[in-house]
Structures are given as structure tokens and as C-alpha cells.
Amino acid sequence: MAKLYVDSDKYGDQANSPTVEAFHSAIKDLVRRRLDESGVDWNSFVFDKSYDLITAADFAEIEKKLLDAGHRYDFSAVISVNERPEAYKPAEGILGDDPDWTMEHPDAPSGDADAEGRALCGVGDNVMRVAESTVGTARYVRSSSQVMRYLTDGVPPETIAIIDDSGGTLTAPILEQFAGIICMGGTVRSHLGILSREYGIPCFMNAKITGIREGQRVEMETAAAAKTAEAYQKGEEMTANIWKLAQEAS
């Protein structure tokens, strides 16, 4: 079988991710096979013959083999799982139509209700310090269909949006209507963090939460110090608390 230039790598071996390694190994096998079958030399192959010999159909076959073996992909964009549900792991709670569904982070702190009836249910990196805590009603915003609904009907007052996407596009047309944002990813420098600061909307990034149902009244400790670039660079924890307000729970 043909030997590829990268087959003699003194220091490198394989990719870290099993999915990447599976694809890359299969592609290298394909290249070796096509070189053997066609008989063309590398210099004719690399920027000429390979365009006909290595095709989209070949890559589709490689992808199919992994699915046929039972693998299902993680999704990042909702449209990916919507268009190919058979290829992706199920997207739970994505439509926001299950009132009992909660987003759970394994490292989220929790506690019993204090004297004021507040129970700790999470922490996050504060984007911008404001004078007081921010109180509102938690609502999950995780898909474009939910955003479209809010765009049509309006965002309910005092909504604290819980978002598992640190980007600035999913919620773009309704972002300004949020009273607060709890984002499960990113850092204070992520696009959502940048936009919330520009708009002056209280926001926690990189949040770890537990037990917050749709409609739960929550309080964000937005008077806490904003997490600094230095804290990120040194790996220091610098978090603000999130509480459930038990007496107002829906």
C-alpha cells in the first residue's frame, strides 16, 4: 500500500479526539487506496488528480461508517440536530416546553433557604458590577423557535434569560428586553458578555446552576465584583451567587 509522507512522523501519532482520529485515519486510508488504484504519483495527485479521486461521496461514506457503528454526534447548533436527528444525540429541553426540565451543572453549589427565603442554586462570572442585586423570573432561551415566539409576543417583563450559548446571535433581536442573563458558557469576554455590557444588562457568564425551573423567581448577585481578565489568566475563581427565591417559586 502507498506510504504517505505523514506516515513517517517521529513525534506525532494520532489526534486526541476519537472522532477526529476516526475521520483522519479513514481519510489517510482512502488516500493510500486511491494512490494505489490510480497509479498516479504524488505530484500529479496532490493538486490535480486528487480533486477527482477524493470526493464528497467518499467523505460521506466515512461519516456514515461512524454512524453505522452506533456513534451519535454531540450537537452545538440546534439546526444540526433538527435536520439530522438520527445522527445526533437527543437535544433535551431545547424547546422549553417541559416546565419541570432544569439545566444541571455537576459543579453547581446549592444550599438551604436562608432567613430571607433565598436558596443558593448557582454561581457565575459577573460581567459588570451594578449597585444592587437583580431579581426576576427565570426563562430558558435555547432555540430560535423560542426567540421567534418572544419576538412575536414580546419578552415578559423581568425575564432573566438562562442561555447555554455564549454567542450574540441566537437572542439578537430580543436581547435588549432581558432584565438579566445567566449564561452557561463562555467568559465575560464572549460575544454575549460584550453585548450585555454594551447594553448595560446584568449578566453572569460561565454559570453553574441547579434546580431552576421555568418561571422560577431568582436573584443574581450583580453587586458582586466583575470578574477581571487577570482572574481568568491566573485561573482564580471570582464568582457571584444565584439564589432561588423560595417564597415566590412558581
Binding site: 489526534a15 452545538s76 447548533a77 450574540g168 460575544h191
Partner: protein, 517 residues
């Protein structure tokens, strides 16, 4: 290539130095700046697709640009504000190309020496472009300057500073300006498919009172190259807007090659004490004031633009929410790939089929681009550096990371010793897109033009500032009292509201004494 090598040792040494410098900075940017993710857009898949499109197309498209105008001439024009210099020039153009190359090496579809002449040419183009664009601070990148970006000449900065209207948190202008910048940034993220390619910050520039100025650019706002802005952005009358922002009580200690900043203490809207508003494009001679006639007009202009951006955001979001995944993939990939498309606009050779299609050689890879593979592959390419091509001898210690790794593979010097290589990946191949066809409407400072007319006007455009191309800041230092220097400054000041006709000898103290009303 077999036979006498066409590349010299000196060329390879310089190219590999640029690659290594670029490796260090790319790693730092990717691991310390931000994580780009979206539930709306399949971001890692479109990034990978863009890298391949860049690998296969950039060398040919840059050669096409240079058939009309050299990289250094374009850099000179960018320095003068036409069009706004994009972060493209700092990082994106070589970054995307080299990531495509690295990925192909790891799939066994490329050897490090293949396309050697493309790599040498592309890095040389980038170097010349960067050196002319950054001529005033004398560095290739912001990173080389300690993450600082002082591009503009004194004469432009004097106009920006003296034009700016003073403002304080709570007053109408301050509120309108901050609201505008929020909605423009949000619109920019959406236009560029969750990337920050439409946004750029340069500076800082020190002001006499100890304050600092950051120049904020918002780009690709109107009906232009992106098919998805047809109709949606019809009401946006400016394709590019620039906001010089005067800031007190915080020092911008970092402006990176992605165009974002950090300050100490952290910048907040309350720190803004002065603002202005300008537009520019390949048909303007410098920055043209927008709504700067009076404080009230500027306030109203910010309000009006804020409203227009919000409406356009809602329209564009609805359009994007109705797209298929392939359409999202194309739009994101073309936004990334198109990060340096304005080079073609400045040269007057822009073609939609060059910049807004996925080359068939890149298109082949689409079936691989599921979310998981793309996420993991991207992570290994730019952050973890765990692909085989990244690994070096165990003695090696990478800058910033200390591991035995390197992001971009150098060109092997063995090609000078007879090892064969294929010099180029070849011409642009046919391309395709799943997006709607682009309407032949391009928003410019001279109105909405067809592309043919836009290119024709650009090629015939000879801005007066080109006459002063080689009158640099060192020359000015010793010749500010000459008629030629005075002419150059007076030309710059023609549209200024407070220093019109003041000429080249205007000093810091006189400028600081001008009221900001």
C-alpha cells in the same frame, strides 16, 4: 517541483520566521481571548470550511489583486482610512490560510512542502500589507508592539480629537452614542454570523489631558458583498462607520490582532467623555463626518442609526432563522473567508464569484462537517495542538504553552537540497453556494452602485491624499513649517469643524484648548 528550486534560502528563512511568529500569537489569541460558540450557527463547521476555501483560493485572488495594486499600496490606503483596516490584515488572512494547510497535512492530503510558493507569496503579501498599514507604529502586528495599534497619523488624530463632542453619562449624546454602539455591535455579530469580523478597535492614542482615544470601526453594514443583506439592509445608508471614542480614567493596555481591547480599570460606558462619527470606503478620501454639524444633529443621528440597526437586526435574524444548515454553513464560511475581500475592493477588482462562493475543492469536505467532529478538530487545531503535525521533539517548549508543540508547520528547507515539491495549488476552481443570488446593488459613499460601476469608479479614483504617500511622520517632524506639510494638513482639515485651515503647526496645547461643544 523537480529541478532547480525557484525559492531561495532567504525566502524560506523569512517565511518560516513569519509562520513561527504567527504560531505564537495565534495560540495566545485562541487560548486567552474568547470562545466563539452559537446555538444558532454551526460555528466550528463553518470555520473549517472557510479554512479550506482560504487555502485553495487566497493565493490566486491575492495575485489578482496585485496585478492592479501592490499590497503595500493597499496598506497605505488602509492607513488613510479607505477602507477601514480589518482585523483581516492583522490575523485573519494568513491565519485562515495556514489553518487550512495544517488540517490538510493532518488528513494526509498535503505534504509540508506542497504549495510552498503559495505559502511564501501569501506570507510576503501579508508582511508588505501589514508593514505599510502599520507604518506609523513600525510593527507588523499589534502583538509585536506589545498589543498596541497606533496606525493613524497625527493630522487625522487631531481632526478626530478636535471634532469630538464632549459628553457625560446621563446626557442625551452619551446615551445615544452608547446605545448606538451596542446595537451596531449586535448587528455586526449577526451580519458576520457570530464572528467579530465586522468590528474592529484600534489605538489607543494618548490625549493631552491624560485621557485615551480608541477608534471603533463597524463594517459591512449596508447592502454590499453579503447576499444575506440584500433588502434587509436597504435602509442602512453607510457601509462602514467609525466612532472615535475619547475615554477617561482607564488605560487600554491591550488592543489585540483580533481588534478587541482590555483596559485597567475595566472600561465602562461612563468612561466615555467624547465621541464623533465618520464613514469611509474605497471611494472616500479619508474619513467623512456623519451628523457632525452640531451636538443635537449627532445625537439624533446616533438615535436614528440605532433604530435602523435594530430593525435590520430583526429582519436579518428572521431571514437567518429560516435558513437550512447548509446555508448557515455557507454564510459563516464566506464571512470568514471574505475577511480580506476588501483588498479586492480597494484595487477595484472585486468579483462576487471570487469571494462569495465555496470552491469545489473545499466543498468536497462538507459531509465531514458535523458539529462534533468540527468542534473537536477545531479545538485540536487552534487550542490543544494535539494533531500529529503539531508535535515536536520533547526538548521543545512552545511560547506561552511550554509544550513540545507548534501550530503551523514550516516549509522544509530540504526542498533546497533537491526534495521535490509542488509549487502551487493552482487557479481558482468553480464554486457554488446554497445562498440566494446577490442582487447587483452595492452601498457606497457615492450611492448604490452596480458592481461593475463600483469597480470602475474605484479604479479611476485618485484621492488627493495619495500625493502625500511618502510624507511620513518623521518627515513631518522636521518639515512641519514647509508649504507642503501645511498643504497636507489643510487638506486633512477641510472637513474638520474646529481646526479647518489651521495647517501643520497646530500643537497639543492649542488642540486641548478647543472646547468640545
Amino acid at each position: 517541483m523537480v529541478g532547480a528550486p525557484r525559492l531561495s534560502y532567504a525566502q524560506l528563512l523569512e517565511t518560516n520566521n513569519l509562520l513561527q511568529t504567527f504560531t505564537d500569537e495565534t495560540y495566545w489569541l485562541c487560548v486567552t481571548r474568547t470562545v466563539q460558540e452559537s446555538k444558532l450557527f454551526p460555528v466550528p463547521p463553518y470555520m473549517l470550511l472557510s479554512y479550506l476555501n482560504a487555502f485553495y483560493r487566497y493565493p490566486s485572488l491575492l495575485r489578482k489583486v496585485e496585478s492592479v495594486m501592490t499590497a503595500e499600496e493597499i496598506g497605505d490606503r488602509a492607513r488613510e482610512g479607505r477602507p477601514p483596516g480589518k482585523s483581516a490584515m492583522g490575523w485573519g488572512m494568513p491565519g485562515f490560510y495556514l489553518l487550512g494547510r495544517e488540517w490538510l497535512i493532518n488528513m494526509g492530503l498535503l505534504r509540508p512542502q506542497d504549495a510552498a510558493e503559495d505559502v511564501v507569496y501569501l506570507m510576503d503579501f501579508w508582511k508588505r500589507l501589514q508593514l505599510s498599514w502599520h507604518r506609523n507604529d513600525g510593527h507588523i502586528t499589534n502583538k509585536e508592539f506589545g498589543h498596541r495599534c497606533q496606525i493613524l497619523p497625527e493630522r487625522r488624530l487631531q481632526v478626530f480629537e478636535s471634532d469630538a463632542y464632549g459628553c457625560e453619562a446621563g446626557d442625551p449624546l452619551h446615551g445615544a452614542a452608547t446605545q448606538f454602539m451596542a446595537s451596531a455591535a449586535q448587528y455586526g455579530f449577526l451580519v458576520s454570523c457570530e464572528s467579530r469580523i465586522s468590528l474592529l478597535n484600534t489605538g489607543p492614542y494618548k490625549l493631552a489631558d491624560g485621557n485615551e482615544m480608541i477608534v471603533r470601526e463597524f463594517m459591512d453594514l449596508g447592502e454590499g458583498d453579503f447576499p444575506w443583506l440584500d433588502d434587509v439592509a436597504a435602509d442602512i445608508s453607510y457601509n462602514n462607520l467609525t466612532v472615535p471614542m475619547l475615554v477617561r480614567d482607564c488605560h487600554f493596555y491591550l488592543v489585540d490582532d483580533w481588534g478587541s481591547f482590555e483596559s485597567e480599570p475595566e472600561f465602562r460606558a461612563e468612561n466615555i467623555v467624547g465621541v464623533g462619527l465618520y464613514t469611509s470606503d474605497p471611494l472616500t478620501d479619508g474619513h467623512v463626518p456623519v451628523g457632525m454639524e452640531s451636538r443635537e444633529t449627532l445625537t439624533e443621528t446616533f438615535h436614528s442609526l440605532d433604530g435602523l440597526f435594530k430593525e435590520a437586526t430583526a429582519r436579518l435574524w428572521k431571514r437567518i432563522a429560516g435558513w437550512s444548515r447548509d446555508q448557515m454553513l455557507d454564510a459563516g464560511a464566506l464571512t470568514y473567508f471574505g475577511i480580506c475581500k476588501d483588498l479586492a475592493h480597494v484595487a477595484g477588482v472585486y468579483a462576487q464569484e471570487d469571494w462569495m462562493l465555496i470552491d469545489e475543492r473545499a466543498e468536497r469536505f462538507r459531509p465531514l462537517l458535523n458539529d462534533e467532529f468540527s468542534r473537536d478538530c477545531l479545538g485540536e487545531l487552534v487550542g490543544l495542538l494535539t494533531l500529529p503535525s503539531h508535535r515536536l521533539s520533547s526538548y521543545s517548549m512552545m511560547q506561552h504553552g511550554n509544550g513540545p508543540t507548534r501550530m503551523y508547520t514550516p516549509i522544509p528547507y530540504a526542498i533546497l537540497d533537491g526534495e521535490d515539491y509542488v509549487p502551487t495549488c493552482g487557479p481558482v476552481y468553480p464554486g457554488s453556494t446554497t445562498l440566494s443570488a446577490k442582487a447587483d446593488r452595492y452601498r457606497t459613499s457615492q450611492g448604490v452602485l452596480s458592481l461593475e460601476e463600483y469597480n470602475r469608479r474605484v479604479r479611476n479614483f485618485a484621492p488627493q491624499s495619495d500625493r502625500y504617500r511618502f510624507l511620513d511622520e518623521t518627515w513631518l517632524k522636521y518639515n512641519h513649517d514647509t508649504a507642503r506639510a501645511d498643504e497636507m494638513y489643510r487638506h486633512e482639515q477641510e472637513r474638520a469643524r474646529n481646526i479647518q485651515g489651521r495647517g501643520a503647526s497646530l500643537g497639543t496645547a492649542e488642540l486641548a484648548a478647543i472646547p468640545r461643544d
